[in-house]
């Protein structure tokens, strides 16, 4: 379990994350939603030690994140940020192989290659594995980066806007993979996501942030309601049930 205990972080005078406490359930997909500037990405960065909190603690399976060795954490938790611009000549397989670094420290073993193959298969990248990253489309690149975090073989996978710049087909593909990671392999997935319908259809829990504070949290059915979403986004949405899935219609 990930326990976030009254975490705050401010830039100058502006509190970006303001006394946030939340527990993330194991083996489930939890989505962080909220308007721009709500502090979702910052919170994810703090949970994954990319940033340190001004006050408060983050515990992963009872261990304090800022007191755990970085290498040990890397075997427990993988984080993928939204901008992945690389100026390197790297093949897809090379990139995915980097996911094994916490284990191999650069010298790949047979077992590492098994994990790399598995990750490539999971993201359906086998045919692209020898292509260089600069020859890939945005969606393929994003899949390659996700494959790297899968190869890292961690219990917790944190993704910051994994659907950014992807079309519907690739977005659905990636969300289905995340669903399988949670359902088949029991991984805990945390994502920051903008499209509330993707959050509604594919996640188990939703945490809604606004102005650095938690506005609401709970299961999909508890959060995807006209009332709650009005509190979070400040606009009226009608919620339609289509094929047992809650879809928000926010075009007015």
């Amino acid at each position: 379990m990930v326990e976030v205990q009254s975490v705050s972080k401010s830039y100058g005078l502006k509190a970006v994350v303001d006394d946030v406490s939340v527990n993330i359930q194991k083996g489930k997909i939890t989505s962080f939603i909220g308007p721009n500037g709500a502090g979702k990405s910052t919170l994810l960065s703090i949970i994954s030690r990319l940033m340190s909190a001004d006050t408060g603690e983050v515990l992963i399976d009872g261990q304090k994140v800022n007191e755990t060795k970085s290498r040990d954490l890397a075997k427990k938790m993988a984080i993928l940020k939204q901008s992945n611009h690389l100026n390197l000549r790297l093949s897809v397989r090379d990139l995915v192989a980097f996911g094994r670094f916490p284990y191999s420290q650069g010298k790949l073993t047979k077992e590492d290659h098994v994990h790399i193959d598995e990750a490539l298969r999971y993201m359906e990248l086998e045919e692209l594995q020898d292509r260089y990253l600069d020859q890939l489309s945005g969606g393929q690149k994003q899949r390659a980066f996700i494959a790297m975090t899968i190869a890292q073989d961690t219990e917790y996978i944190l993704l910051d806007e994994p659907l950014n710049n992807l079309d519907m087909k690739h977005s659905v593909q990636i969300m289905k993979v995340l669903r399988r990671l949670a359902d088949e392999l029991g991984k805990t997935v945390l994502i920051v996501i903008h499209d509330i319908n993707f959050a509604s259809v594919y996640s188990d829990y939703i945490v809604a942030l606004k102005d650095g504070k938690i506005e609401a949290q709970g299961t999909v059915n508890e959060i995807i309601t006209t009332l709650t979403l009005k509190q979070v986004y400040g606009m009226d949405m009608s919620i339609q049930e289509i094929n047992n899935q809650k879809i928000c219609v926010y075009f007015s």
Binding site: L50, K69, S70, A74, R89, F98, G106, Q152
Partner: protein
């Protein structure tokens, strides 16, 4: 493997330029000329190695392939130290003063400055590395202006002596200094071994490196110290020459098209040695000392730099 083939070609090329430098027009007094040339070649190999390694590390740490460590301002500080010595002690100090003392003073100041700069930078958490570059740039300009100011005030004859120092030169390297430089370099390279495996990961960027379990701040701080010491050694040994690094590291990247530092580091070192030894050969036998090696390096390096900028902006 193709990588191995290319490395062998580079080894042959640098061996050829070293041999060429050593034996061309050796003349009848070879027993006099050879040890002197050997001394210069040793300085060339040492400087080439140091500059190549420092630049490769610097570009990896900053994730930027058109930067050289000279941006931290160490070159300008070196000139400031030399000018200050002449300003207060007179030009005889440079010629009379023990070379080792001068070397030690120069290195001492440069390393001290780098450490102070890093302290300033890393005191606050989450400071961007570009802040360091900006600070370095400002200090570098300040040192440069202050140096010119002092140079304007001193006697023109004394200025001549300083001017000699403004261009990198292998023409008056002394064995005692060379030994000191070699020992320091060896120690730094040995220390670098400890962090070598992290370099590939660091080139993926800060966030990915942290994700993959690299103690980022710790590692980068130590790499920056290694860079500062290496650059100081090279500059104090032959003068401002960091521009060479940009050239050789990029040639290595272009030749090998890889991200693997285990290959890149040897490739850059070999290109660097070949360029320096070959360049020095041209300076001595084609131009018969009418120009300095660094002039040639800066000329070719400058053209290459502009080419890089143009190509980057097209992307």
């Amino acid at each position: 493997m193709r990588e191995k083939g290319k490395l062998i070609i580079l080894i042959l090329l640098s061996a050829a330029s070293i041999a060429g430098y050593m034996f061309i027009e050796l003349g009848p007094n070879w027993d006099y000329a050879l040890p002197r040339r050997a001394e210069k070649i040793a300085a060339i190999v040492l400087t080439g190695t140091v500059i190549a390694v420092a630049t490769l590390l610097f570009q990896t740490v900053t994730n930027n392939r058109i930067l050289t460590p000279s941006i931290i301002g160490l070159d300008s500080l070196y000139m400031l130290v030399q000018t200050t010595l002449v300003f207060f002690l007179g030009s005889t100090s440079l010629t009379v003063m023990n070379k080792q003392v001068n070397f030690a003073i120069s290195i001492g100041f440069m390393v001290l400055f780098a450490l102070v700069l890093y302290r300033l930078l890393f005191r606050r958490e989450g400071q961007s590395i570009y802040f360091l570059l900006l600070l370095g740039l400002i200090f570098g300009t300040f040192f440069g202006s202050f140096t010119s100011f002092m140079q304007v005030l001193i006697d023109p004859n004394e200025f001549q002596i300083i001017q000699d120092r403004m261009f990198a030169s292998f023409n008056n390297v002394q064995t005692e200094v060379l030994m000191m430089a070699a020992v320091i370099t060896a120690a730094m390279l040995l220390y670098l071994m400890k962090f070598f495996k992290y370099l590939d990961v660091l080139s993926l960027g800060k966030e990915t490196a942290i994700n993959l379990g690299v103690e980022y701040d710790y590692t980068v701080k130590r790499l920056l110290v290694i860079i500062a010491v290496l650059i100081s050694v090279a500059t104090a040994l032959v003068g401002p020459i960091t521009f060479l690094g940009l050239l050789v590291v990029n040639v290595a990247y272009e030749m090998f098209k890889t991200y693997k530092h285990s290959v890149l580091i040897f490739a850059s070192i070999l290109v660097s040695i070949a360029a320096l030894a070959g360049g020095q050969m041209i300076v001595e036998h084609v131009f018969t000392f009418s120009t300095q090696l660094s002039v040639i390096i800066n000329f070719i390096g400058g053209i290459y730099f502009i080419y890089l900028l143009l190509r980057e902006s097209k992307k």
